[in-house]
């Protein structure tokens, strides 16, 4: 089986991001892993766009970058707020709400 390597690379990066989100306990690192996932998808989009000679994929990357920025801004603000309340960003220590 032969592989489109660009897409394969982005699948690998995406999966590393998923592992990070699932295993890390530090909310900031989890957020970074989510950014990594988005970044991996951007790679997929650019690669597909280049292969097809179609510009729309690259346009979507523009917007996905903006969204990633906005998400980071709000996410980090939430993390600051939670740090004020708990003095920790460890998600395992934040467990008031279950079930």
């Amino acid at each position: 089986m032969e592989l489109d390597w660009y897409l394969g690379l982005s699948a690998v990066l995406f999966s590393i991001g998923v592992i990070g989100v699932l295993t890390r306990r530090n909310a900031i690192v989890i957020l970074m892993c989510a950014e990594l996932m988005l970044n991996a998808v951007n790679l997929t989009l650019v690669s597909l766009s280049a292969q097809m000679g179609d510009i729309h994929g690259q346009i979507l990357v523009f917007f996905s970058l903006s969204v990633a920025a906005a998400e980071a801004a709000v996410g980090l603000a939430i993390i600051i707020a939670i740090y004020r309340n708990h003095l920790s960003v460890d998600i395992t220590k934040i467990n008031l709400l279950r079930w």
Binding site: F62, A69, L76, I80, R84, N85, L87
Partner: protein, 126 residues
């Protein structure tokens, strides 16, 4: 096509190489005779109090956030500016609107007094 980037790659590689080389060289060539005062942060001064990583004010965060916003604005303005001549007046107005919306965000931040520096983070809410 790819070839035209090679100078950039070479430049980057050179920069990295030189930086790494200086570190390694100074490690290899420099005399290493450690003693206690020498290992302190200030060889001839007081011991520092607290940690090296100081806490920053929330103001930094807010500035960084505004920076992101305007960074993105640049990213959007640049392709527009390059082709500005080709576009009709409608696009100009759209761009004005785009910039205005983002400026409104800045005005909001200013009005909310978020750039004041008296807010220290880190202390828990009562």
């Amino acid at each position: 096509m790819l070839e035209q980037y090679i100078p950039i790659f070479i430049l980057i590689a050179l920069a990295v190489l030189i930086a790494v080389a200086f570190i390694i060289l100074s490690y290899l060539l420099g005399p290493a005779r450690p003693n206690k005062p020498k290992l302190g942060p200030y060889e001839s001064g007081m011991d520092p109090i607290g940690q090296a990583k100081e806490r920053y004010s929330v103001g930094f965060y807010i500035i960084a956030m505004e920076f992101i916003v305007f960074d993105l604005e640049v990213v959007f303005i640049y392709p527009w500016a390059v082709r500005y001549q080709e576009f009709g007046p409608g696009t100009l107005w759209a761009m004005v609107l785009f910039i205005t919306i983002l400026l409104l965000g800045l005005v909001y931040t200013l009005k909310k007094g978020s750039f004041k520096w008296d807010m220290l983070p880190g202390s828990p809410a009562k």
